[in-house]
C-alpha cells in the first residue's frame, strides 16, 4: 500500500471524512481549527523572524515583535470561540433562510457547506482576527514591550521573550547549560582566562569530572 493509501484507508481518516460530509457545522469547525493552527504557527515564525530582522530599525523592532506575539496569543483564543459560535447549525439555518430564500442551486449540499465555512472564517478570521484582535493586541503589545522587551544597558540590545526557545543553536544550548553555572562562574572566573577550573565542593571531589567550562570569557560578558 502506498503511503497515501495508508492515510486514505485508515479508520481515523475515514471517520473524519464521514463526519465532514454529514455535518456542515463540523466541516466549518475543522476549517476554523486548521486556520487557527496556521495562525499560531505563523505568528510564532513571524515573531522569530521579526526579532531577528536587523533590517527593521532597532527602535521599531520591539513593538513590531510585541505586536506579533500579542496577536498570536489573542487570535488563537478569540478565533476558536467566535468561529465555533458562528458554525452552530441554528445560526447557520437562520442566516441561510434569510439570504437564500428563493435562490436555486446546482449542488445545494456543497453551497451549504461553503456557506458555513465562509461565515465561520469571516467571523473568526476577519472580524475576530482583524478587528477584535488588533483592538486587544495593540495595547497589549505596548504593555508587553515595556514590561518584557528589556534593553541591555551595556550592549544596547533588546532582550526578546522566548528568544532562547526559538533559537535552538549550539550556542543557545550552551546558554541553557551555563545558565545554572553562571552564578558560580561570576564569582570566580576572571575575564582574562579562556577557561577555568570549576570550584570543587568536598563531596564532589571525585564525582564531577567536568573541570573545564569553555569560552567563559563570552559567558561573563
Amino acid at each position: 500500500m502506498s503511503k497515501i493509501n495508508a492515510i486514505t484507508q485508515s479508520n481515523f481518516f475515514n471517520k473524519h471524512l464521514s463526519k465532514v460530509i454529514n455535518d456542515d457545522a463540523f466541516a466549518a469547525k475543522t476549517i476554523v481549527v486548521c486556520s487557527v493552527a496556521k495562525d499560531v504557527f505563523a505568528y510564532t515564525v513571524r515573531y522569530k523572524t521579526t526579532m531577528d530582522n536587523e533590517k527593521i530599525p532597532e527602535k521599531r523592532r520591539p513593538f513590531v515583535a510585541a505586536m506579533d506575539l500579542a496577536s498570536g496569543v489573542v487570535t488563537a483564543i478569540a478565533q476558536i470561540v467566535v468561529g465555533f459560535a458562528i458554525a452552530s447549525p441554528k445560526l447557520q439555518g437562520k442566516l441561510w433562510n434569510t439570504i437564500f430564500k428563493d435562490a436555486q442551486f446546482k449542488n445545494i449540499g456543497l453551497a451549504k457547506k461553503g456557506f458555513a465555512t465562509i461565515l465561520a472564517l469571516v467571523g473568526s478570521g476577519v472580524i475576530t482576527e482583524r478587528v477584535l484582535v488588533p483592538l486587544i493586541a495593540t495595547p497589549m503589545a505596548e504593555k508587553m514591550k515595556n514590561k518584557y522587551f528589556t534593553k541591555d544597558e551595556k550592549t544596547g540590545k533588546t532582550h526578546y521573550p522566548f528568544y532562547e526557545y526559538l533559537h535552538w543553536s549550539s550556542k543557545n544550548l550552551e546558554y541553557f547549560e551555563t545558565k545554572a553555572k553562571t552564578k558560580e562562574a561570576d564569582l570566580v572566573a576572571p575575564d582574562t582566562f579562556d577557561f577555568y577550573i570549576r570550584p570543587q565542593r568536598p563531596n564532589e571531589l571525585f564525582a564531577d569530572t567536568h573541570f573545564f567550562v569553555p569560552r567563559m570569557k563570552e559567558i561573563n560578558r
Binding site: S2, I4, N5, I7, T8, Q9, F13, N14, H16, L17, S18, V20, I21, N22, T30, I31, C34, S35, K38, F41, A42, V45, R46, T49, T50, N53, K55, I56, P57, K59, R60, F63, V64, M67, F100, K101, D102, A103, F105, K106, N107, I108, G109, L110, A111, K113, G114, F115, T117, I118, L121, G125, V126, E129, R130, V131, P134, T138, P139, E142
Partner: protein, 176 residues
C-alpha cells in the same frame, strides 16, 4: 439598473457556489489574505486604545498588506501544483478511500451525497469520491500552507522594511 431582491439573491447564490467549489483550504487562504490586506492595517493605525507612536504603528501596519500579497501568491501557486499532482494520482487510481470502497461493496452512502444526486447510487459513489478527494486535498493543503509560512514570512520580512522605509519618512530620533 434596478436589481430586484430575487436576482440579487440568485447572484449571491451563484457566487457562493463558485467560491465553494474552490475547496476549504483555498477559501480560508483567500479570506485570511483579504482581511489582512484591507482591515488589519486600518485597525493597527486607527486603534483608539493604542498610544504607540505614529511611526511605530505605520511600520507594523505596512507589514500586513505586503505579507498578505506575498502569502496568497505563494499559497495559490503551491496549492495549485499540489492539487494538480493529487488529481493526477487520483486519475491513475492511486488514491483510494475506504469509505468509497465500502460504498462500492454496497455499504452506506452519506445522506447529503445521495440527496445531491437524487438517489442515483452510481452517481453518488462518484460524488462521494470527489468529496473525499476534496477533503483530502484540504488537509494536505493545510500542512503545505503551514510549511510554506517559513519561506514566505522570511521573504515578506525582507521586502517589507524596504517598502516601509520608502513610504515612511522617519524623522523620529527616539531610541527605544
Amino acid at each position: 439598473m434596478k436589481v430586484t431582491p430575487i436576482r440579487f439573491n440568485q447572484r449571491m447564490a451563484n457566487s457562493l457556489e463558485r467560491f465553494s467549489s474552490q475547496g476549504g483550504e483555498k477559501i480560508a487562504n483567500y479570506i485570511n489574505a483579504a482581511g489582512k490586506f484591507a482591515i488589519a492595517p486600518l485597525m493597527i493605525m486607527y486603534n483608539p486604545f493604542s498610544k504607540e507612536s505614529k511611526e511605530n504603528k505605520e511600520w507594523a501596519a505596512i507589514k500586513q498588506p505586503i505579507e498578505a500579497l506575498v502569502t496568497i501568491a505563494a499559497q495559490l501557486a503551491a496549492l495549485g501544483l499540489l492539487y494538480k499532482r493529487i488529481d493526477k494520482l487520483a486519475a491513475k487510481g492511486k488514491i483510494n478511500f475506504k469509505l468509497v470502497d465500502d460504498a462500492k461493496k454496497g455499504g452506506e452512502i452519506p445522506k447529503p451525497i445521495l440527496d445531491a444526486v437524487s438517489g442515483n447510487r452510481t452517481k453518488a459513489i462518484d460524488e462521494l469520491y470527489k468529496n473525499c478527494l476534496d477533503i483530502f486535498k484540504d488537509r494536505v493543503g493545510t500542512v503545505l500552507t503551514i510549511a510554506l509560512y517559513v519561506p514566505v514570512l522570511a521573504l515578506s520580512n525582507r521586502i517589507f522594511p524596504k517598502v516601509a522605509d520608502f513610504l515612511i519618512k522617519d524623522n523620529d530620533d527616539e531610541q527605544n
